[in-house]
């Protein structure tokens, strides 16, 4: 069903511009760097940080957000002309909640242990500001295909930060990556300790702060004026 909804508008667009025109490519790549949803747009931090203790739940969470973001963008974009303006928030919430229920049931059925680890944070994708923000700012005024790309791009931009943060936290906090031990035993024997602060919540905030620092010192345009 969802495949059809993407394919049809894409075909129509072809007559006007190619499927991956420069503009559409920008939609996909921009959120990964200069317009990253977390570090630049400041959206979606809410559910982002609590799941980043280990890499596996972060990857699952990132994929869940990509799916929800892309498909709710498409759905809203398809019905954007018939949504009455006054009740658009509730319509958007309903669409997003439906997508999240699908994702949640899927995780419960096929990845039960990860679903348990993510606990309430799957449900909290509904109120993830990235999704609402993109629906409001992009899908409400654009055609389905660009909206789909925008959703994918922002989902991955979010997921990228999630995976970077979780990589550092898992490496320093438990000496593992994706559950495999990477810090050799000889380190521990010579007195190396896992940094237990890294698995505590505060470290996630500090790592994101440092990522923002690095990104902004590389791209001076993003620095906030005083």
């Amino acid at each position: 069903m969802s495949k059809e909804t993407i394919a049809v508008p894409a075909k129509k667009k072809k007559t006007k511009e190619p499927l991956f025109s420069a503009k559409n490519k920008r939609l996909l790549y921009d959120p990964l760097n200069d317009n990253n949803p977390i570090t630049v747009q400041v959206l979606g931090i809410c559910s982002a940080l609590a799941v980043t203790v280990k890499m596996k739940p972060s990857i699952v969470m990132a994929l869940a957000v990509v799916v929800v973001c892309a498909f709710s963008n498409v759905i809203i974009s398809l019905i954007r002309n018939i949504i009455p303006n006054r009740i658009r928030i509730i319509v958007q919430l309903t669409v997003v909640a439906t997508m999240v229920i699908l994702v949640d049931q899927f995780l419960k059925a096929f990845l039960f242990d990860v679903s348990k680890q993510l606990s309430v944070f799957v449900g909290l994708i509904i109120t993830n500001c990235i999704i609402m923000g993109r629906l409001e700012a992009f899908a409400m005024s654009n055609k389905p295909w660009p909206a789909f790309l925008d959703g994918i791009g922002n989902g991955f931009g979010y997921g990228m930060i999630l995976i970077i943060v979780s990589m550092f936290r898992e490496l320093f906090g438990s000496g593992e990556l994706l559950g495999y031990r990477v810090v050799p035993d000889s380190f521990y024997e010579s007195g190396y300790f896992n940094n237990s602060l890294a698995i505590m919540p505060p470290m996630a905030l500090i790592i994101v702060g440092i990522l923002i620092w690095i990104q902004r010192s590389r791209n001076q345009k993003l620095i906030e004026s005083k």
């Binding site: 570090t39 400041v42 959206l43 979606g44 931090i45 809410c46 559910s47 982002a48 940080l49 609590a50 928030i89 509730i90 919430l93 309903t94 909640a97 439906t98 999240v100 229920i101 949640d104 049931q105 606990s119 309430v120 449900g123 909290l124 509904i126 109120t127 993830n128 500001c129 609402m132 602060l197 505590m200 919540p201 505060p202 470290m203 996630a204 905030l205 500090i206 994101v208 702060g209 440092i210 923002i212 620092w213 690095i214 990104q215 902004r216 010192s217 001076q220 993003l222 620095i223 906030e224 005083k226």
Partner: protein, 204 residues
């Protein structure tokens, strides 16, 4: 005593922001001045306190497995819990709408000072997070749920007011350019969270 314990736990140990990062978006966006932070904090506390108990009743009498038994014994096998996300978010959105209308009618000054924040609370993760934690932790009765909701709200209020006070002072300090604004706010929140970790393990 149990209620007080849950209340204190909600404020300090299981603080919505420092332990679970819920409601971070508005927390970062609206913490530039103390005045607006107080307004938003009050609004969030109020909405949490009203909507989480309502969600609890909904959960207990409609959504849980076998919850519809009070209607007729035939429904004792019905399990609607997969609908809880959509029901909770609908409840929260309508309560926010209701609160907005009441405040606009009776306390217009508060309404103008809260401005855009009030409708935005519907998509504040801390409210839905409160409802989902309530569902996950299986509190025993309405009193405990209310204590939890109020505690989380007060904790959120404390966090945003504290951060906004620090940020007001921060304007006079010389922060490195790339760290200015968002970056330093993240690190500050992290340091505050470390401070709050010292409350861990307290129980009354």
């Amino acid at each position: 005593m149990e209620y007080v314990n849950i209340f204190i736990k909600g404020i300090f140990i299981e603080n919505m922001i420092f332990a679970y990062f819920l409601g971070m978006c508005s927390y970062l966006a609206i913490s530039k001045t103390v005045k607006s932070a107080v307004g938003l904090g009050l609004a969030v506390t109020f909405v949490l306190f009203v909507s989480v108990p309502v969600c609890y009743l909904l959960e207990k009498y409609v959504l849980k497995a076998g919850a519809l038994q009070w209607l007729s014994p035939d429904f004792s096998t019905v399990d609607l819990s997969f609908l809880s996300f959509i029901m909770f978010i609908a409840t929260i959105a309508s309560i926010v709408q209701l609160v907005e209308m009441i405040v606009e009618k009776f306390v217009p000054t508060l309404y103008t000072s809260l401005g855009i924040f009030l409708p935005l609370i519907a998509v504040n993760c801390s409210i839905l997070g409160g409802a989902l934690f309530m569902q996950e932790r299986e509190y025993a009765n309405l009193g405990e749920v209310s204590a939890f909701a109020l505690g989380s709200g007060v904790g959120w209020f404390l966090a945003i007011v504290a951060l906004s006070a620090i940020r007001e002072k921060l304007r006079y300090s010389n922060v490195p350019g790339p760290l200015r604004g968002l970056g330093i706010t993240f690190i500050l929140t992290g340091l505050m969270a470390i401070a709050f970790m010292s409350f861990m393990g307290i129980s009354l």
